[in-house]
Symmetry: C2
Subunit: 266 residues, 2 copies
Amino acid sequence: MGFATATAVSSDGPGSWKAEIVDGWDIGSRANGGYMLAIVARAMASDLDRPDPVTITAHYLAPGPAGPVRVTTSVVRSGRRFATARGRLVADDRVSLEVLGTFGDLSEPSDAPTLVRVEPPSMPPVEECIPLEPVPGQALPPPFMGRVEIRLHPDDARFSEGGASGIPRIRGWFRLRENEPIDTLALLCAVDALPPTAFNARLPLGWTPTVELTAHIRARPAAGWLRCAFTTNYVTNGFLEEDGVIWDSTDTLVAQSRQLALVPRG
Amino acid sequence: MGFATATAVSSDGPGSWKAEIVDGWDIGSRANGGYMLAIVARAMASDLDRPDPVTITAHYLAPGPAGPVRVTTSVVRSGRRFATARGRLVADDRVSLEVLGTFGDLSEPSDAPTLVRVEPPSMPPVEECIPLEPVPGQALPPPFMGRVEIRLHPDDARFSEGGASGIPRIRGWFRLRENEPIDTLALLCAVDALPPTAFNARLPLGWTPTVELTAHIRARPAAGWLRCAFTTNYVTNGFLEEDGVIWDSTDTLVAQSRQLALVPRG
């Protein structure tokens, strides 16, 4: 089952949607955060009748188990250029995600001035990068990696064999399986798809649960592999941020993301 | 009138609050975005009974004119360590801000491991930096600058005399007037207080309205001046981000912020 199907929503009355967290989009039986956000965003986009999440924030309140879920949406304001809504994903009667987003239509490129101060991440060709594939009977890489295609930068890929780079950074190529087209909703999955940056830090770090994730979608991606880079600069006071940039095959910045995650106590 | 008074809220029934956008906290008759966010955050903190906004996001939907406003709050989830709420500021029957935040208590420092990859911004001493003070009868610097105290890094301070640095960056010292203590709500004002980074870019940029602002509050600030640095890496497709870091007088990272703003068409 592809991404579009696995994030489908069906209207169930005004502002109410039925959806399903599909088995296999999980990491240690918790649905991937970006995947769940994409489900909510699809309902919000539909309610607002605007295709593209320009800026969207999710607060993660409870894990999303596989199975049927309910999404609710509520339009806050619908303007000429942008429209804003709230969204919520409820699984097993618990709020898993609370979302706030502003949507628009990114089909028309802007003629505003441009300035790019940081170039796309430098990466070896896809075929020289390291695939992340789930192995039956093994917890890692997680099942989610079978739903997307990731090729890690070789310098960032050896954390599981005791070869953490020492730099809390993960770079990789991303696409959907079967080369399914990546729209701006699928970018919400891409911003949370790579392994945590903390895996490459030489710190006694375990799992780092996401408190909040914000994505800015800058443009609709062209066909082809995406280049992604995630970096952490500050692990302080029990928190860390993970900053992401995603570039498409035409060297266009398509998304920027930041998440706040918790550092397990040492 | 100090910051705490200018952001006061009074309960007006469950989840309903009266407040006032105080004249003088504006930039060209629009209330400063961080100041308005602090009003809503104060109501959310009160509703949740948690003092510190750990991560908070505001979408800016309409300008907030000076005068009485209504704030509504709604608790989404109250957990052991964190609690999440929605907030809204309504002025003149229009939603000005829609907010989503997770709050906690940052009074106890964490014993989790620490890693700092980017040092605090290097700044000349306060007395060698350039004060921003409003001038009666002049639009710039705006009245808001009379409510806070800002000293800009000399390299970043000459944009108004045709001396833009060419780097979309603004660094400066920040404190409240009368040396009023800066709590974590006042940090929400600090993350949006300095002039736009775009003023230092050599681009035909005018006013850059904020679509969305997210702040991560990492720690309660110690007494004294704060060092702030805001940087823009990508002005693309009509959007720009402004990334901020704020450090306190003990070299502790107290806040990180990012806002998405619109680039006026060239």
